[in-house]
Every structure is written in C-alpha cells, then in structure tokens.
Amino acid sequence: MRFMLMVKASEDSEKGIMPTEAELGEMGQYNEEMVKAGVMLAGEGLQPSSKGARVKFSGSDRTVTDGPFTETKELVAGYWLIQVKSREEAIEWVKRCPNPHAGESEIEIRQVFEAEDFGEELTPELREQEERIRAQADDNQ
C-alpha cells in the first residue's frame, strides 16, 4: 500500500529560506535510507506558496487567486510517496525523519487509494468510463 507523507510549511519555508547544508545532508541521508529499503517511490520539496496559485470552483465558475496564502500550517512544503506494508510502517518511517524545519514541524500521513479499494458499487461507472474512453480512442484512429 502507498502513503503520501506531506511536510507542512513553516514560516521559514514560506519565506523561501532554504535549509542549511547540515539539514539538507541529514534529509539526504534519510531519503537514501528509504531508497535502500525499497520503500521510497518519489519525493520533492515545494516552493513557497507565493510562487503558487489557487483555482476556486463554484458551479461552472473558476476564480484564480495568486499566492502567498496565509494559513501557513495547513500548506504543504514537500512530500514523499512511499510503498509499505501497513499504516504503522508508514508512521515508523516518518518518526525516523529528521525534523524538516527548525522548531515545530508536522508531517501528515495519508493513504493512497489502490485499485482494490474501489468497491463493487463503482464498477458500472468504471465500465461506462472505460467504454467512453474506448469509443474516443476508436474515433481517433
């Protein structure tokens, strides 16, 4: 099963203050450990929200808001995607992570949906979607 580990932003990360060399080194070592254990699939750090944007949906309307965004602790500053045996294993890996920021930090752990998580009730829609995509593919030929 796969989990996304999301590092929440801090005031420093939102200001675009880069981690120190020592911090980067520690994090690099941690990443290496997860790669060597065969669990890390992907992972990236994200730029401050001042470089990002949001698109709000309301019915058929789309409104674009440029960053930065204020609710720092709810923002995501980086993520990993890992494949492990259990939620507990994901937690255990996160506990081994060096503190991503100076001071307080938070990493949120969320499980990724897998094919087998979609129950029987979804099959008619899936089938319909498949048929639609297939029909489109046929049209394109």
Binding site: M1, V35, K36, A37, G38, V39, L41, A42, L81, Q83, V84, K85, S86, E88, E89, I91, E92, W93, E114, A115, E116, T123, P124, L126, R127, E130, I133, R134, A137, N140, Q141
Partner: protein, 420 residues
C-alpha cells in the same frame, strides 16, 4: 499504548529492521538459521516488553543488542555449535563479537555486504525453489510464515516446515555467509533474480477479487528488487528486472476487467496505467542499458515492455523494434515460447504471413506440444489472413488445451464467431 497498538508498531519495526538484524547477526554467528532464531527471540522479547515500556528510541539497536545477548546466553549453554575441538577458537571469536559494545556502529559498517550475503544465502542453489522463495520472503521481506502461507495458498505448517528444513539444509551444506566471488557471481545473481521475479509473477498472475492479498506479493517482490538495485548498483540485470517489474506493475489496474476477467495488453485502457511506475521502470531500464554490456534476459524483456509503455495508443507500438528484441531474446534463451512471442510481433510489424511462417516452424517443437497459446496465436494469424476454417480449428484446439476457464470461454467464443 494498548497491547494491540504496540503489536502493530512492533510489526512495523520488524518489517523495517528484520533483514538488517538477521544479516548483521549472520555475519557474526556465520549461520543464517541461528541468526534468524536469535532475531526471533529478540522479537519475542520486544513483544513482551514494549507494550509496557513503549517502543524504544532506536528500536533497531535495541533488537540487535537483545539478539546478541541471547546469542551469548546460547553460547554459554553451548547450544550454538557442536563441541568440536577446532570450533572452540571460532566460538570464542563469535562470543567476542557478540559482546561488542556498540552494536549500531558495528551494523552500519558492514550492512551493505551483510544484506547482500543474506540475499545470496536465502537464494542459494542448494535450496529448492520453494524453499528459496519462502526463506527469502521471511528473512529479507520480513513476512511472517502465516503471510507467506496465505500468499502462496499453502498451509501454514507446510511453509513453516519448509523454512525449518531450509535452515537445516543451509547449515548442513555449510553454505558460507558471504558474497560470492566474481567467478560465481553471475550464476548466483541469476538465482537471486529468478526468485524475486518468481515472487512477482506469483502475485501478478493472480486476478483481483478472491485473491486480494496477491497484489501485496507484487509489492514485496518490487521492494526486494529495489533493495537489490541499491545493493548491487553496477549489475545491469538487477536494474533490468526492476524495470520489468515496475512496468508490469504499472498495468495492474488496467489488466483486470470489472468482473475480474483478464484484459489483454492491447485492449487495456492506457489512461489507467500507473505512469509513475512507468517512469520508474523506464528510468531503471536506462540505468541497466547505461551500464553497457550485452543485455541480459530481464533487460531485454524490460525493453520490450518499455516499447508498449511508451506507446500512447496500441497503434503507436513500435512492433519492428519489439520483433527485433524478441529475436535477441530468443537467441539468448533458446526458448520456443519466446519464439512464439516473436511470431506475434512479426505478424504485427510485417503482416500475418510473416508471423505465420515462424509459427509453422514451431509446430514441430516438442516443448510446445500441448501449449494452448501455439494454436491460439496460429488461429489469430490465420483469421487475419481470412483463412477462417483453419483458424476456427486452431481456436477449438486451443480451447481444449487451456486449463484456465476464462480463457477457454474466450477461445471458444472466437471459434464460434468464425463459424458464423
């Protein structure tokens, strides 16, 4: 922390630490069976103590220290090795190493080599294939006997017995705990890769539904493969195998229909492929090919899988390249099944007549006698050449030969359609 929370946390720690623990111990005691026993004893101690005390800050070091203490106890009770004169010196040496004060540093220095030695030991040719699979999943994958039994639909007692016997065999054959020398390395590595791929296929050939546990087996194999790729980064075939598994796994969602029926590659909805895994697979293939040398069987198979993965739509598939790759693979493996695949690719690349000529050469091949895919492929090519009567006969023959119910339906249906 409730007892069941603690047990789940311990399971998680075990999954992460057990292979390193067993590998580190095996280097000292020079017997993976004993090493595994000691590691298990440490696990039992954790299960007794951690629900009360909480999980220690460095659980790996705790387990290692505990296992080493158990080792010393055993030596004192003189259980670990038979008391032969020449072994006394060795025993003292082991005792000294077990008593080393700084377990954490001691593991880290050797851990890469230790893990590799463990892989080569659990996949040692002295063991039967079944034993290699079970011991590898248990000692490297950190799976319990129960999990292995469930994955292979075997009774737990059978698997447990298999592991006990394997440990005994390794001890009796005095299989050294080491990375094989360069003269042996190629063959031994092939044995390791074979086991990893076998585990993967055991998971991959299962369909969804009643077998929901099997995708986990694919993940276990992938995890083993990814670990191996870091342990022997200069071996192209390791990356080739990882590439092959990543690309195949990328299709898992697309290859099973809503009611559990298999969907063939060319009929799959490619939007449902997992493009992150495709990307990882292509990167691993680049690594394999970048290391140079004559490509081995996994790298070639991965290269073929990559041709499909790169095609946005079936009609964009580079069939001439696939046919060429199958040609190289056929020379390497001398496998008639590979030749049959080449025939399909030739048919797609250069027309059905081209494919049929190769299939007709294969008809006399004794190892393909009774293989349902031979008449199935032949029927397909004949149908494309509008030789419908012969095609129908081939599909009927194929339907009679297959042991898979779903496939039989499919083949009979094709035969019926040709009759009309």
């Amino acid at each position: 922390m409730t007892a069941s929370d603690a047990h789940r946390a311990i399971d998680a720690v075990w999954r992460i630490e057990s292979a390193r623990l067993i590998a580190g111990l095996a280097r000292i005691v020079r017997d993976v069976g004993v090493a595994e026993d000691l590691a298990q004893e440490a696990l039992v101690a954790a299960l007794e103590q951690w629900p009360e005390s909480g999980v220690p800050d460095n659980p790996g070091a705790w387990l290692m220290a505990t296992a080493k203490h158990r080792g010393i106890d055993r030596l004192r009770r003189r259980e670990m090795v038979e008391r032969k004169h020449q072994e006394l010196g060795r025993e003292l040496e082991i005792q000294q190493e077990l008593a080393e004060p700084d377990p954490d540093a001691a593991i880290d220095d050797h851990i890469g080599d230790d893990m590799l030695s463990l892989v080569f030991t659990t996949c040692h040719p002295v063991l039967s294939t079944e034993a290699r699979v079970a011991v590898t999943l248990r000692m490297l994958g950190g799976l319990t006997t129960k999990e292995i039994a469930r994955a292979f639909l075997a009774p737990e007692a059978t698997v447990a017995q298999r592991i006990v016997r394997a440990k005994k065999t390794l001890a009796e054959a005095e299989v050294p705990f080491e990375v094989p020398g360069s003269d042996e390395l190629g063959d031994r590595l092939a044995s390791v890769l074979e086991i990893v791929y076998l585990i993967f296929n055991e998971g991959y050939s299962a369909t969804a539904g009643d077998d929901w546990l099997r995708p986990a087996l694919c993940e276990d194999a992938l995890r083993l493969g990814r670990i191996l790729a870091e342990l022997v980064p200069t071996e192209p075939e390791v990356h080739g195998l990882v590439a092959l598994m990543e690309i195949q796994a990328s299709r898992s969602r697309a290859r099973v229909g809503p009611s559990g029926e298999p969907i063939l590659l060319l009929d799959q909805v490619r939007a449902r492929w997992d493009y992150m895994l495709v990307g990882r697979g292509l990167a691993a293939l680049d690594r394999a090919e970048g290391l140079g040398g004559t490509p081995g069987q996994y790298t070639l198979q991965a290269a073929i899988a990559a041709c499909h993965a790169r095609a946005r739509a079936p009609e964009e598939t580079d069939w001439p390249r696939i046919a060429g790759l199958y040609g190289v693979l056929a020379e390497l493996t001398r496998s008639p099944v590979v030749e049959l695949n080449r025939a399909v690719a030739l048919g797609m690349a250069f027309g059905p007549q081209e494919g049929l000529e190769l299939v007709d050469e294969l008809i006399s091949e004794p190892s393909l006698e009774g293989y349902h895919l031979l008449p199935s492929v032949r029927g397909d090519l004949l149908a494309k050449l509008s030789r419908f009567v012969e095609a129908r006969e081939e599909f009927e023959r194929a339907a009679a030969l297959t042991r898979n119910g779903r496939e039989r339906e499919l083949l009979s249906e094709r035969a019926r359609l040709l009759a009309g």
